[in-house]
Symmetry: C2
Subunit: 443 residues, 2 copies
C-alpha cells in the first residue's frame, strides 16, 4: 500500500510515554555487525510485539524513468523466496492470529507484523529471509504489475481529486522527485521489468540500509539476541546505498491548476507552499510551521475555520496541515471547501485576505491551546504500539535520530509568537505556492 | 551562448536550394571509421566555408543535480588543450578574418567557424584537437563558473520575463528535462566541479557522438580527405553514449502561473501546450501543427492577430509558434499583449474564445497563403550558408535524417484543412496547457 497520508506521523511526546523520568521511554538502539540498525521500544501492557523493518528508500529514490519501482517492489516482496513460496509468510502471520502490512512513502518502505510475543523470532526469520533471497520469477512480475496498474486506475485515473493532487505536486516540486507520485506514472509502471525490480532490490535491500524496530512486550537483550541470530546472518554489502536528491530552485512564481471533471461533487480549493521540512529547516522554522498549521488550520477552533466558516460563511470547511517529516523540502497545505454558490475564485480571495492577517491576529491563548492540542494528540497516538514504532522507524529512515524524536515536545513548547509570525511571513507567500481548483465540469 | 530561440530552425526547402532537379541540394554524407558522421553542403557562391561540429548532447542530457553542465562545458571548450593554450583557437579565427560561435540547446551543443576556404583544414585541426584533449585545469574552472553565474544573473534572475519562461517550462514538463533551463538552476551551477565537467566531457565528446557539417566552397571529396586526416585520427570510443529521456505523463490539468514584478513595463499573456515534436508525432501531426502556428499566429495577417488586434482591439500584438524541432514532446505557444486598460484575465478569455473558433474558421485561402509563407521563409533562410548548415546539423543531432529535411516542404504542402482542424482540437486543449501572466507589481 502507499503511505499517502497528508499528515505526517505524529511524533511521540516521549517524556510522557512510558512514564519514565526526564526524557523519553526506555528506547534502546544498537547496530549489528552487518550494519543493520535496531530500535527496541518496550511496552509491557499486553503480551504482543510489533515487528517492523524499514528501508531507507522510497519513491523519491526511484531511478528516472522507473517511477513506481519502490512501490512495485513492495508488492513483489510478498512473492516468495526459495525457502518460502509466494504467500506463505502472509498465511503464517494470519494462522498465528497476527496482522501484517507494508507501505511505501516518498522516503522509505516498511513492512510490519503484529503478533503474540512468542512469535517474534518467526517474524524475524521470514523478514530476514526476504531481505536478500527474493526469487522474483518472471511469472509473478507481469501479473503483479497488472495489479499495480489496476490500483493506479482505481485510485488516480478515475479520481479527479487524486489527479489534482498529482498535478499540484508536479508543479510544486519542479525538479525534486516529490513531484512524482509514489505509485508512479502509468506509462512508466507499464514498462517496469523483472530486471528493473532486481536491480532496485539488490541496490536497496541490504542490512546497512535497513532499520529493525521492535515495540512491545520484549526486552532489548532478547531482541538483540534474536536479531543477531536471524538478521545478523545476512552478509553485509560494505556500505549504505547512496540516495541522490536534487534540490529545487527557490520558487519565483505563483502557480494555479484546475481540474474540471463531471465526477466532482464538491468543489475544493487547495494551496500548497514549498517550505522546509524538519530535516532541512534552519533553526526553529519546522517547529514554528508545525504549530502554525495547528493554529491557523487545526480543526474547528482554528483561525481559518473561524474566519471563513463561522464568521464569513463563505466556506463549509477550512484547514491547514504541514508535512514536516520529510528528508527534503516539503509542503504546507491550506484548503477550503466553498459554501453553496461561492466560486473558487471568490473563496481564494477570501483565503488570501485571511492569510494576510495571520501575523497580526496571532494571540498567545490560541498558540498555547494549539501546543496543548499537539502534545495531547501526540500522547494519544503513542498509546498505539504500532504508531509508536512508526514514529521511531520513520524518523530514523529519513535521517533523524532518537534524540530528535525525544526533543520534539520541548521544541514545540519553546516556539513563541514571533516565530509563528515570521514563518507565516516568509513561507506563506504566493511565489512559493501552487493553488488548485477542483471543480465540476459539464459531462 | 544558449540557443533559446523560441522558433525552431527553419528547415530548408531543399528542392529549391541549389536548383538541382528532383529533391535537395547536393548534400553528401558519410561516416568515418571512428563513427564520426560528416555532412557536406556545397555552396560555391563565395570562397568561404562554414565549419560546424555538433554533439548529440544538450541540456536535457545533463545528469540530475548538475543542470547547466552542457552549457558550462561549452564555455570550457575554449579553455585550451596541451597543444593550444586557452584562447588561441579564437585568436586564430579572428586573425584569419573569420567568425566563430558556439551554442547549447536542449538537445545538442555545437561549435562553428566561418572562414575563407583555404583555412578549413586549420579549423578541423583545432576542433578535432579539443574534442578529446581538453586540459580543464582547476584554475580555469572556477572563474568560468563565475562567468556563467553572472550570465544567469543578468539574463534570468533580474528579468521577470525569463523567470516566467522558466516557471512555465517547469510546469509544462513535469518530468522531462525540457522543464529545466538550458543554463541550469543557479544553485546547481554553483556546485559544478572540474570532476563533473570532466566526467561529462569524457562521456559525450567522442567521435561517435559528433556530426561534422561543412557548408561552402568545397567538394565532398576534399572534405572527406581533410576529415580523415584530422578527425579521423581520433580513437573511437566503441559506441555512442546513451541519452536517457523520461516521457511525461499525459497532462490532465490546466495550469496558471503569475510573475508579478515592479520591473515589468508591458504585461503579457503566454500559453504553452504540450504537443508532439516532428520526431515523436504520429502521422502528419507535426506538419499540421507547424502550419497551424503559421495560420493562427504567424504575423499580422494571422487569425489571432486579426481577431484580437484588428477586430476586437483588445490586444496590441498576438501570435503563435511551435517548436517542432525537438527530440521529445515539445511546446506550442500562443501569446498576446493586452491593449491599455485590458486585464490579462479578460485577454485570456478572449484568446480562448478565438481559439475555440479555429477549427471552423480555417479557410483554404489562409492555409495556402501560410504554406507559401513557410516555404518562402525557408528558401530565404537557406540563402545563408550558416543557416543551411544549422538546418542539417540540428536535424541530425536530434535523430532526424537528411531525407527528413528534404521531405519537409512536400509534407507541408500535403497538409489539408482537416489535418489542421484535427490538430487544433486534439492539442490546443486546456488540460494540456500552462498559462502565464507577466504583470507589473507595486515596487
Amino acid at each position: 500500500m502507499m503511505d499517502t497520508a497528508s499528515k505526517p506521523f505524529l511524533r511521540t511526546d516521549a517524556a510522557s510515554f512510558g512514564r519514565t523520568e526526564g526524557g523519553g521511554p526506555n528506547v534502546s538502539s544498537f547496530t549489528l555487525d552487518n550494519g543493520l540498525d535496531v530500535v527496541v521500544i518496550p511496552d509491557h501492557r499486553v503480551p504482543v510485539v510489533t515487528h517492523m523493518i524499514w528501508y531507507r528508500n522510497g519513491s523519491a529514490d526511484d531511478p528516472i524513468g522507473q517511477s513506481g519501482i519502490a512501490h512495485f517492489l513492495e508488492h513483489l516482496m510478498f512473492k516468495g523466496t526459495e525457502k518460502h513460496p509466494a504467500g506463505e509468510f502472509s498465511k503464517v502471520v494470519s494462522a498465528l492470529g497476527g496482522q501484517e502490512n507494508a507501505f511505501t512513502s516518498f522516503d522509505y518502505t516498511a513492512y510490519f507484523q503484529r503478533v503474540a510475543r512468542e512469535h517474534l523470532r518467526t517474524m524475524m526469520e521470514f523478514e530476514a529471509d526476504r531481505m536478500t533471497k527474493l526469487l522474483l520469477e518472471e511469472a509473478v512480475v507481469g501479473p503483479e504489475r497488472d495489479v499495480v496498474l489496476e490500483e493506479r486506475r482505481m485510485r488516480v485515473e478515475t479520481d479527479p481529486s487524486s489527479q489534482l493532487s498529482e498535478a499540484m505536486a508536479a508543479a510544486l516540486f519542479v525538479h525534486h522527485p516529490y513531484g512524482i507520485p509514489i505509485i508512479g506514472w502509468m506509462h512508466e509502471i507499464e514498462t517496469l521489468s523483472r530486471e528493473n525490480a532486481l536491480d532496485y532490490y539488490r541496490r536497496f535491500y541490504t542490512p546497512e540500509n535497513a532499520i529493525l524496530v521492535v515495540a512491545g512486550d520484549v526486552t532489548p537483550d532478547e531482541v538483540l539476541r534474536l536479531a543477531k541470530d536471524t538478521y545478523g546472518r545476512i552478509e553485509p554489502r560494505g556500505e549504505r546505498p547512496v540516495r541522490f536528491r536534487p534540490r529545487d530552485p527557490d520558487p519565483v512564481a505563483a502557480r494555479h491548476i484546475t481540474v474540471s471533471d463531471p465526477k466532482v461533487e464538491q468543489p475544493t480549493l487547495q494551496r500548497l507552499y514549498l517550505v522546509p521540512s524538519c530535516r532541512t529547516a534552519k533553526e526553529r522554522d519546522c517547529y514554528a510551521l508545525e504549530l502554525l498549521a495547528e493554529v491557523i488550520g487545526g480543526g474547528p477552533t482554528s483561525y481559518l475555520y473561524r474566519k471563513l466558516v463561522l464568521e464569513r460563511g463563505i466556506a463549509v470547511n477550512a484547514g491547514a496541515w504541514y508535512m514536516s517529516s520529510s528528508m527534503d523540502e516539503t509542503r504546507f497545505c491550506v484548503y477550503a471547501v466553498p459554501s453553496e454558490g461561492v466560486t473558487l475564485q471568490a473563496l481564494e480571495e477570501a483565503v488570501d485576505e485571511v492569510l494576510k492577517t495571520v501575523p497580526e491576529a496571532l494571540d498567545s491563548d490560541s498558540i498555547e491551546r494549539a501546543k496543548t492540542r499537539l502534545v495531547a494528540e501526540t500522547i494519544y497516538s503513542t498509546d498505539s504500539q504500532s504508531a509508536l514504532a512508526r514514529i521511531y522507524g520513520s524518523a530514523l529512515a529519513i535521517g533523524e535520530t532518537i534524540e530528535d524524536v525525544h526533543r520534539w515536545p520541548g521544541e514545540i513548547e519553546a516556539v513563541v509568537k514571533d516565530d509563528l509570525a515570521s514563518a507565516a511571513e516568509r513561507y506563506l507567500v504566493l511565489r512559493r505556492s501552487v493553488t488548485g481548483y477542483l471543480q465540476k465540469s459539464a459531462s
